[in-house]
């Protein structure tokens, strides 16, 4: 396993999970979970012209990133970033595909530059005024575990804090028929060398380990099933309850990420 990596801040947005402070008692079973539709907030950090150009996936990412960084007390421009998303800003891709098949075939230049998978990272860089290293990952259904592994690898290898953000919104039609999803979900962790106010993690990679996703409290299974970013929920429950435990999350094709959580 890796050395311990601390969690210095958490940001969270999901159905009935509006920010870490409000969600923590819900995830710990101390308050009822009342799923409510999630409207990604307008990113106040961005200049107005840029703000208008952002879609729901980017807005989710920026909101949880800002929350986590605020709680960490670290300066946003000092953080390397790892963004992970299965679907990216798919509504932009769908608009472009529609336009490509329309009679005139003209696509919008703004939509094209927003179609890159690292759009969320790019807007975060503008919002935070950051010149730091940033990488954006895919990962299909295992995007959270994949991103967490890469983010922790950077903290360990480069001994510098990393802002790790996983964000996904369901694919719009007609793609949703090929890859169903029904909730928006995003989580951000500020990961630092050593310990952190919100707990610490050590990770290990198991090449051969058929793994079922860890059990969740009643009601959260459906959220996890509806969004790949929500596969973060077992870790979030562990952090909310403050109990030391080891979790295993699935990775392709029969591998697992083992996560030792310390409060």
């Amino acid at each position: 396993m890796t050395p311990a990596v601390g969690i210095a801040g958490i940001g969270l947005l999901g159905p009935g999970l509006a920010g870490w402070a409000a969600a923590r008692p819900v995830l710990a079973g101390l308050a009822p979970h009342e799923p409510a539709p999630l409207v990604p907030p307008v990113p106040a950090l961005l200049p107005a012209t840029e703000r208008r150009r952002t879609g729901p996936s980017v807005r989710l990412a920026l909101a949880v990133a800002a929350e986590a960084v605020q709680h960490s007390g670290l300066a946003p421009e000092d953080l390397d970033t790892v963004f992970a998303s299965s679907n990216g800003e798919a509504q932009v891709i769908v608009s472009i595909l529609e336009a490509l098949h329309a009679p005139d075939g003209a696509i919008s230049p703004t939509q094209f530059h927003n179609s890159v998978h690292n759009a969320a990272a790019g807007y975060w860089g503008i919002a935070a005024g950051s010149a730091r290293s940033s990488v954006s990952l895919g990962g299909h259904d295992v995007v959270f575990a994949t991103g967490l592994m890469q983010a922790v690898a950077q903290v360990v290898a480069w001994r510098a804090p990393v802002l790790f953000v996983t964000h996904d919104v369901p694919l719009p039609p007609p793609l949703t028929a090929l890859r169903p999803g029904d909730a928006s979900f995003a989580v951000a962790l500020v990961l630092v060398p050593g310990g952190g106010a919100y707990g610490a993690l050590r990770l290990g990679y198991s090449a051969q380990a058929a793994t079922a996703e860890p059990p969740l409290p009643t009601g959260f299974d459906a959220i996890r099933a509806g969004n790949p970013a929500a596969r973060a929920l077992p870790l979030l429950v562990a952090l909310a309850t403050g109990r030391a435990m080891t979790l295993s999350l699935a990775l392709p094709e029969a591998a697992a990420l083992d996560i030792a959580v310390a409060p």
């Binding site: 998978h117 730091r132 895919g138 994949t146």
Partner: protein
């Protein structure tokens, strides 16, 4: 950073299938760009198509991955003894200790473009394997299955720095102990989204791209796949080619326009030199991102001049291949390896007159010279910058 040995590397692009063809094209100054002849593409542009990949069949048990990107990846990994080198690495490290870390900007989206044209009256798409084609993870999953590897599987998509970032991010995975070696690189293939997208930004060249030329007028899009195996350098590796350093930065400026003074590019290059423990004077050749757009090449010239003055020869090789987007950083890593092995500094192709405003040491003809260390630049939309230093291991 710890230096990494490049145990094996291969590249396939419009200038050649495999390293021998790539090497021959570089020396002969024979570019691979042609007038675009695929249907429903922008009018009057040139591109770098790898037609040889189009008839490639995937192994039967992996047929579900079939798409333009996987076919090009399959063609590339069959070159230069790449598969045999991976088999040998499996024997050394074990399949579970070799990661697959690959970059792509559009993965197999061309499959979705084709399906889109066959939508039903209700707008529904015909059935196809979205997860194994369009999805970003399809590329590393394909190579992992094809090569029989069980280590970590990472897909990187940072637009045109994706292939370069794969070297940096794989290095972090290895340094943190998640793997002992990694298959890195990238693949990106021609698709309507990309060509029309750059067309919408009015960034496509009329005719073959002419990076650094006074009259340059944009990009020619190309497709490529390039892969390498990296592992920690050992004392016995002295003289072999390796990854010596890497630097990355963000512009934090604009989604598609580079910072005019190239601050992000300067930071990435300085970071790469620092992580390699090298000074600017230690670099023998800079392989530019050099897309052929007015803005990129002018910015990059200023950024290079700030660090290297005009003392270090630099050029873009995109006149041979076109801009292969998420594969370009990996393709240009292979070109860097050829330059070091052969003692070659390839001058920019298709340049009538070098932009007289440029102050860096841009070269437009080939030179034979000793090359021990190459700095390779990649820049992308979203303000993503990555610079890599390749060279002979100490």
């Amino acid at each position: 950073m710890t230096p990494f040995r490049i145990t094996t590397i291969t590249a396939t692009s419009a200038m050649g299938v495999g390293l021998d063809a790539t090497r021959a094209a570089l020396w002969a100054r024979r570019g691979g760009l042609r007038p675009c002849d695929l249907p429903a593409m922008p009018e009057g542009v040139w591109f770098g198509r790898v037609a040889e990949a189009e008839a490639v069949a995937l192994p039967e048990d992996l047929a579900a991955f079939a798409c333009r990107n996987a076919r090009l990846a399959e063609l590339a990994l069959c070159q230069d003894g790449f598969v045999a080198a991976i088999e040998a690495a499996k024997a050394r490290h074990g399949a579970g200790r070799i990661a697959v870390v690959l970059g792509t900007s559009t993965s197999g989206i061309e499959e979705t473009e084709q399906a889109w044209a066959r939508r039903g009256a209700n707008g529904a798409l015909p059935a196809y394997d979205f997860a194994r084609t369009h999805d970003l993870h399809a590329l590393p999953r394909y190579l992992r299955a094809r090569l029989g590897l069980d280590g970590p599987c990472i897909s990187i998509s940072t637009a045109c720095t994706s292939g370069a970032r794969s070297f940096l991010d794989a290095a972090a995975l290895i340094e943190a102990g998640f793997a002992d070696a990694a298959v890195v690189g990238g693949a990106d293939t021609l698709c309507r989204l990309t060509l029309h997208g750059f067309g919408s930004l009015e960034l496509l060249a009329h005719g073959p791209t002419r990076p650094c030329a006074e009259d340059r007028d944009g990009i020619s899009i190309g497709e490529a796949a390039a892969f390498a195996l990296i592992e920690r350098a050992m004392p016995g590796d002295a003289g072999r080619i390796g990854l010596l350093g890497a630097g990355a930065s963000s512009d934090g400026h604009h989604m598609s326009s580079p910072h005019p003074e190239g601050l992000g590019a300067v930071a990435a290059m300085r970071g790469a030199l620092d992580s390699a423990g090298l000074a600017a004077a230690d670099i023998d050749y800079v392989n530019m991102h050099g897309t052929g757009t007015r803005a990129n090449d002018a910015m990059e010239d200023r950024a290079i001049a700030r660090i290297f003055g005009d003392a270090v020869p630099c050029s873009s090789t995109k006149g041979w291949t076109g801009h292969t987007l998420g594969a370009s950083g990996a393709l240009e890593a292979a070109i860097a390896a050829i330059c070091i092995e052969d003692g070659l500094i390839p001058g920019c192709l298709n340049v009538g007159r070098l932009d007289p405003a440029f102050t860096a040491g841009v070269v437009v003809t080939n030179r034979a010279a000793r090359v021990d260390r190459v700095l390779s630049n990649s820049f992308g939309f979203g303000g993503s910058n990555c610079a890599l230093v390749f060279g002979r291991l100490a």
